[in-house]
Amino acid sequence: MNSSRNLGLVLMAPAIVLVVLFFLVPVALTAVFSFTTMSTSTGITGGAYQLAPNAIQRLRDQFGMVELAQKLGEPSFVIDERGLATLEAKGVAPGIVAELRSNHLNETFTVRRDVERMIRSLRERPSTPEVKLISAEFSRSLANARFADEAALFAAVKAIDAQLTEDEKAALAAASYSGWTWTTENFRRMVSTPDTARTLFNTLAYVSLTLVLFNTGFAMILALAVHYMPERPAGFFRILWLLPRITPPVIYVLMWKWLAWDTGFLSAVLDDFGVRPRNWMLDSAANAWVVVVFINGLVGASMGMLIFSSAIKAIPQSLFYASEVDGAYRWQQIRHIILPQLRWPILFVTCYQTLSLLTSFEYILLSTNGGPGGTTEVWALAIYHTALNNYAGNLQYGYGAAMALVLVVIGIVLSLVYLRLFNYGALVARPLIEH
């Protein structure tokens, strides 16, 4: 008994690893990310302290430290003894240092290009890397400088003779930090953004319409139809309905576009009947919705069809014979024999397809891309647009993760509701006959 339990654990191990790796870890990371300000500009792995223009601006506007911002923000180069001493210590050619000391001591520059021009005009004409090394030693401002940690930042501030109070230090660190920080702002933003409600409603409509009409409804009709067909044509139709699923999504959607565009098949045919050509995919919100539901539904229906028809096949033939002897119609067979036996598969398909529809957006992305005007933008697509798509190169990981977290919560709640609704406990109870 004990060894069989151990064997069970061993057999379960791969599944546990997969669940942890592909479900628990991503969910945990999503939850963590969702409470951060992470984006491309903050980076994922952590930040640095940089007095970029926006940091100077924050110091001025948000912390009211106008003078400090002014002092730190303007580039300035001063040829002074301290810089010269460092150059000597670094082993820069003595001739260069001597000439700087005799001809340029106490000169100031506000532009890096100018100070480097001066350095280049020295008799020994340093090479470009040397020029960069020398000019860096005379820099007496922190504009655009980047520091790995707070200590380095404060040391640098001290080096340019700026005495900071503790308040100023804190403000400077906060304003110049380029990395991500913890925040609950993402959720506040989500609630206050006008499009959130509409995207949620779109998602609800998309999932329920596709699920009810196609993934279970139409799938059931197909399963029943092929059940009452002779074996060969039944097989043929099953394969036919699998085509949308096995066609690569890009090609499948491309075919829909050829069908629906204003230069496409539908418009060409309808043109002969006096209907003005139009884009049947994007012309109106209703058009877009019909297309989105059909594109996804025809893919989803095949899975339900396969599961339902194999479940119907598993029903003992004797039940059908007996019902026919009793004079049952087809409808009565379906109503009283097939459907009651299909509770499990229906639960499975409903549950599985709800969750997969909630997170699937690839067909919408490829077809309407959420259009026209955001009418078919569903939650998962909105996450993609936020976290992984930005024309100006600044992807919003944090806000995207917060949106994804909402989806995770909805998914878990829905699963629990389904289990309750279909009375999962009774379904997995030990059969009475074995007692």
Partner: protein
């Protein structure tokens, strides 16, 4: 010490290049370059690096050093995929050495430390950097620091299909005078809708084809905001001018209401759009200077100047005629090896030579980046480069280098889309835009 990071870097470069370590043996370096938004006509964005590598190897040989550079090139035809791929690769530590991208990426990518200033490696007084247009240098800088070298320049004209304009009464002389009328503000965006309507009423174009704008998101749409008096950034802060934004949205709503632009126009496939505008299916449209290369090379429009007139984007109410330049820049990514970074910097400098850059400019119908490029015969003998430079470039704005601009841009586009397709009234769309920007950007944007 001040500028610690900088000092350490500069020291490392000096050590690498001047202490002679590693230079006795042959030096083998692999430099990778990725370019976004790069189609078949834009191959010199990456091929120029190949040419530069050859020159740099020879320079090294003359100095008695053996250098062998292998250039790994990768191009992406679109922007979204490219930016996604690049940012994720960079997070994973696999960024290429050189990136060719839009200048607007400088702000967010410098903040994240993804890129380093080119001025850390290059002598800005050296040829050809000292000959680059001042405004392009400014667009390639952030906070006064030069982060990239301009790779190309362009601008975005309004195009008119001449035969259709003639069909509604324009003479050749009228068409020749049109660009200056647009520039002076005499011919406005309202006239665009009027003329588009006339073309449709005349039956020379199908309904919805009178005014046929770019079918997807792009920098172009900021031009219309500017046409209606909008400002993108002021004193380093983003600006949302609500009234201008509403007039801009209203213009596209009016175009749809007049029937000259299709309500479902957004999302039309690019290929279809290019084929249609290059074959006279549309009356008036807007595009970029580089579209010339596509019309002529891929779409078979042999007599461009006989069929197409071009001008600035006309003024709307309370604005002025303008165009937008969206220079691409060569950027250097933060490199594990200072040696690679130094060599990559040299390569992008050499690739910016007027003669090499002219190859890209003329093949892809972009505009030059240096003044001397006008003295390269290939460039100066090209009618399109000459005329487009004169007529458009002096009036070109650029988008701001600001980390938050991407958020603003996405929201602006979403609002335009919802107004254009009739989902929201323009006033409502602007209202929602304001709410969204206030909640996402807070104090970083000025609303007025």
């Amino acid at each position: 010490m001040t500028k610690l990071g900088l000092t350490i870097k500069a020291a490392a470069v000096a050590v690498a290049l001047f202490s002679g370590t590693g230079l006795t043996a042959a030096q083998n370096v692999t430099i990778s370059v990725w370019a976004g938004g790069t189609g078949p006509n834009d191959n010199y964005r990456v091929d120029a690096i190949d040419i530069a590598a050859d020159i740099l190897e020879r320079e090294y040989a003359i100095r008695g050093k053996e250098l062998s550079i292998a250039v790994e090139k990768k191009t992406y035809p679109t922007w979204d995929d490219f930016k996604q791929a690049l940012t994720l690769a960079a997070e994973a530590g696999n960024a290429p050495d050189i990136v060719v991208t839009g200048h607007e990426d400088i702000a967010p990518w410098s903040q994240s430390g993804l890129i380093v200033p080119v001025e850390n490696y290059l002598n800005l007084d050296a040829w050809p950097i000292n000959d680059m247009y001042e405004n392009l240098i400014k667009i390639s800088s952030y906070g006064g620091v030069l982060y990239g070298l301009p790779q190309d320049a362009e601008s975005r004209p309004l195009f008119f299909w001449k035969p259709h304009m003639k069909a509604i009464g324009y003479s050749d002389a009228d068409l020749d005078a049109l660009p200056s009328k647009v520039q002076s503000g005499e011919y406005t965006l309202a006239n665009v809708i009027e003329d588009a309507k006339k073309m449709q009423d005349k039956g020379v174009v199908k309904p919805g084809y009178g005014f046929y704008p770019r079918p997807n998101n792009g920098p172009d749409y900021w031009q219309f905001y500017t046409s209606f008096g909008g400002v993108m950034e002021e004193g380093g802060k983003l600006v949302l001018d609500k009234a201008a934004m509403q007039r801009f949205y209203q213009f596209f709503v009016d175009a749809v209401a007049a029937g000259v632009t299709r309500k479902n126009h957004i999302g039309t496939p690019n290929d279809q759009w290019f084929a249609e505008v290059a074959s006279g299916k549309a009356g008036i449209w807007h595009g970029g200077t580089w579209h010339y290369a596509r019309y002529v090379n891929q779409e078979g429009l042999t007599d461009f100047f006989g069929n197409v007139a071009f001008s600035l984007i006309p003024a709307g109410e309370e604005g002025k005629a303008n165009t937008l330049t969206h220079p691409l820049v060569y950027l250097l990514t933060k490199n594990k090896s200072e040696e690679n970074a130094g060599i990559a910097a040299e390569l992008i400098k050499i690739a910016s030579e007027p003669r090499i850059n002219a190859l890209h400019a003329i093949k892809s119908a972009h505009l030059g980046i240096t003044k001397q490029e006008a003295n390269v015969d290939l460039y100066s003998s090209d009618r399109w480069a000459r005329e487009a430079t004169e007529r458009l470039l002096p009036y070109a704005n650029a988008m701001p280098n600001n980390s938050d601009f991407g958020t603003y841009w996405n929201a602006m586009w979403k609002g335009l889309e919802s107004a254009w397709t009739g989902q929201k009234a323009p006033g409502q769309a602007v209202q929602d835009l304001e709410t969204e920007l206030k909640s996402s950007l807070g104090e970083a944007i000025v609303v007025r």
